[in-house]
């Protein structure tokens, strides 16, 4: 089962094999959770939406067409739920901005991207950079952020993202470019500040 494609697992599940669905959940829950979490920026809501996404997959299993890629369908459900939640304004941005995400014990960000500084100062700088980048992502317009997240977090291709979002592939790429440009600006702004502080 573990080697089966998503689509064949879904078919098996439709035949009544619950184990196949279990494998599907195990395979996609992490990426889906991260996509939803970055989208709604609220841990508790992300948990609920993740669950709701899978429940809708269960309910709509018969509606899924074999020709369609399963991930596209699942992410369409998740994305629609996120958009609805955002529209209802139930997410709390303030909580998520301070919510710790990532491994605090992991290597410092600055070491990975600059490789210059080391020690406590570098670590503090790295944390600050991470926070700024995260703020920059949160500040992206929803239509850019969702595409950025689907590409970077969920690792979906541009044509799949276009199907999920319901727009053309060129629009998707254009939005992605805008999103990357804004993040690059945030990164450079921070680097300038860091250099000025030296």
């Amino acid at each position: 089962l573990r080697e089966d494609s998503d689509e064949s697992l879904m078919l098996r599940y439709r035949e009544g094999d619950v184990r196949a669905f279990e494998v599907l959940v195990h395979r996609h829950r992490k990426a889906l959770y991260n996509f939803i979490l970055r989208f709604v920026r609220d841990t508790a809501q992300a948990e609920d939406l993740l669950q709701e996404t899978f429940l809708r997959v269960i309910k709509g299993a018969d509606a899924w067409e074999e020709q369609a890629k399963l991930t596209t369908w699942v992410y369409t459900i998740a994305r629609n739920l996120c958009v609805d939640a955002a529209r209802r304004g139930q997410h709390r941005k303030a909580a998520s901005l301070d919510a710790p995400i990532g491994d605090p014990e992991g290597p410092a960000l600055i070491e990975r991207i600059a490789g210059a500084q080391a020690g406590a100062e570098a670590e503090a700088t790295s944390r600050e950079l991470g926070a700024r980048l995260k703020q920059a992502i949160d500040a992206l317009p929803d239509e850019q952020r969702e595409i950025f997240l689907l590409r970077e977090v969920s690792d979906l291709q541009f044509n799949e993202i276009a199907q999920i979002v319901g727009t053309s592939e060129n629009t998707v790429k254009s939005r992605m470019r805008y999103a990357l440009e804004k993040l690059r600006e945030a990164l450079e702004e921070y680097r300038d500040l860091a250099q000025a502080a030296k």
């Binding site: 992490k30 948990e47 429940l55 269960i58 909580a95 605090p104 991470g130 541009f158 690059r184």
Partner: protein, 404 residues
């Protein structure tokens, strides 16, 4: 990305796809050739990779919190199994039908129906042959006689009915239209017979009936005065015998065909709580072989005991897993107390909606009414707390792992 340059070409537009590895082999090779000679693309690519590297480092993929994973897993499997059960129900039935038809339970049930119908028909024929007997009364009596489900009242009922009908027949023959009086006699005879049966037939566990003429509200609830007294209603049927009250939306248990259902347990007037306590008791037997029995395909009774024990010990995750299996098992029917424990486990696993659904079905069980109310209060409290503010799970940061 780093500001468009004047000499950008159509090939430069492929930078994004190239960076994300979406170009096919041939276009990729073509772009790499272009890249070697395009300073603008080189700078933009480097910038893009820097941003992506920073993003990956600052936003590693996090694992869903452990409690979410567990609860989600249980809930999803529950829903998936429910759906799969529903879909495969017809197929399963078709597969099981030959086996079911030959099962002892089915044969016993069939025998019961045949004998009951034959007896009822014979008795009814005897009744309708008599002149001056109101047909409606005869129908009602026959219906109640045939449909008597409680074991005790079954034999009692037959005796009482025979006696009553004999009396009625006598009267009918003699006076033509003495049906009301005959019914009165029938009622009295049934009451007497029930009383005698309860005091003499070994069912000492039954609560004593109230004196004749003052029927207990509890036991005669719903009785209509204008009917012959339905003796079979005197003793409450166990919950398991109430097919119509079985929760239709039970989580895992695809409804077993009625014919294949195990025959109703002998009527005992002990409260459900006591029944389940008895089930959960017997700690010596459990302690002696529980470990092995759980490893090697334990019997349902062992699993039930084990689940109850785990729930009592507060090991709700394990208990929940067992209960999920038990609820799945179509050959089993959990007692209200067990189902209450199951609800408690669901609540502790934060499967609030599922717990509420299960609790809804338990509300019909008078034996656990107070416990149900208490559980309902707990769940309501949780729902309110969740609606008010969902606390961030402390496990989230600890679970975080850098993206691969």
């Amino acid at each position: 990305m780093n500001g468009a340059t004047e000499n950008r070409t159509g090939t430069c537009e492929q930078l994004l796809e190239y960076a994300y590895g979406e170009l096919g082999a041939e276009p990729r090779r073509a772009f790499e050739q272009h890249l070697a000679g395009c300073a603008s693309c080189q700078a933009e690519l480097a910038s893009l990779e820097r941003v992506r590297g920073a993003v990956k480092a600052s936003l590693p993929l996090v694992e869903p919190p452990v409690n979410v994973t567990g609860a989600l897993h249980a809930q999803l499997l529950h829903a998936a199994a429910q759906r799969a059960g529903g879909r495969g129900k017809l197929r399963q039935l078709r597969r099981k039908l030959p086996r079911l038809l030959l099962s002892p339970a089915f044969l016993a049930a069939a025998m019961f129906v045949v004998v009951g119908t034959a007896a009822g028909t014979m008795w009814w024929r005897g009744r309708v042959m008599m002149p001056g007997r109101p047909a409606a009364t005869a129908t009602v009596t026959e219906h109640e006689s045939v449909n008597a489900n409680a074991n005790v009242s079954e034999s009692v009922n037959t005796t009482a009915n025979e006696k009553a009908s004999a009396n009625a027949d006598d009267k009918d023959t003699a006076f033509g239209s003495a049906a009301p009086k005959a019914e009165h006699h029938a009622v009295a005879a049934k009451k007497k017979a029930v009383h005698a049966a309860q005091t003499n037939d070994g069912l000492s566990g039954l609560p004593a009936l109230e004196p004749q003429g003052q029927p207990s509200k509890l036991y005669l609830e719903g009785r209509k005065e204008d009917r012959p007294m339905a003796v079979e209603r005197v003793v409450p049927r166990p919950a398991s015998a109430k097919g119509e009250e079985a929760p239709l939306q039970r989580a895992f248990a695809p409804a077993a065909p009625a014919a294949a259902a195990p025959p109703p347990a002998p009527v005992k007037a002990t409260p459900m709580a006591e029944q389940s306590d008895g089930l959960m008791g017997g700690a010596e037997g459990y302690a002696s072989g529980s470990a092995e029995s759980t490893k090697a395909a334990p019997k349902p009774i062992d699993r039930r005991k084990q689940a109850a024990r785990l729930a009592d010990q507060g090991r709700c995750d394990e208990a929940l897993r067992l209960y999920q299996q038990l609820v799945h098992d179509p050959s089993l029917r959990l007692t209200p107390d067990e189902r209450l424990k199951y609800v408690d486990c669901l609540r502790q696993a934060r499967l609030t909606q599922q717990a509420l659904d299960e609790l809804e079905t338990l509300k019909r069980e008078p034996a656990v009414a107070s416990k149900v109310r208490r559980e309902q209060q707990l769940l309501d409290g949780e729902v309110r707390a969740k609606a008010k503010a969902k606390p961030l799970p402390a496990a989230a940061p600890a679970e975080a792992k850098p993206a691969q």
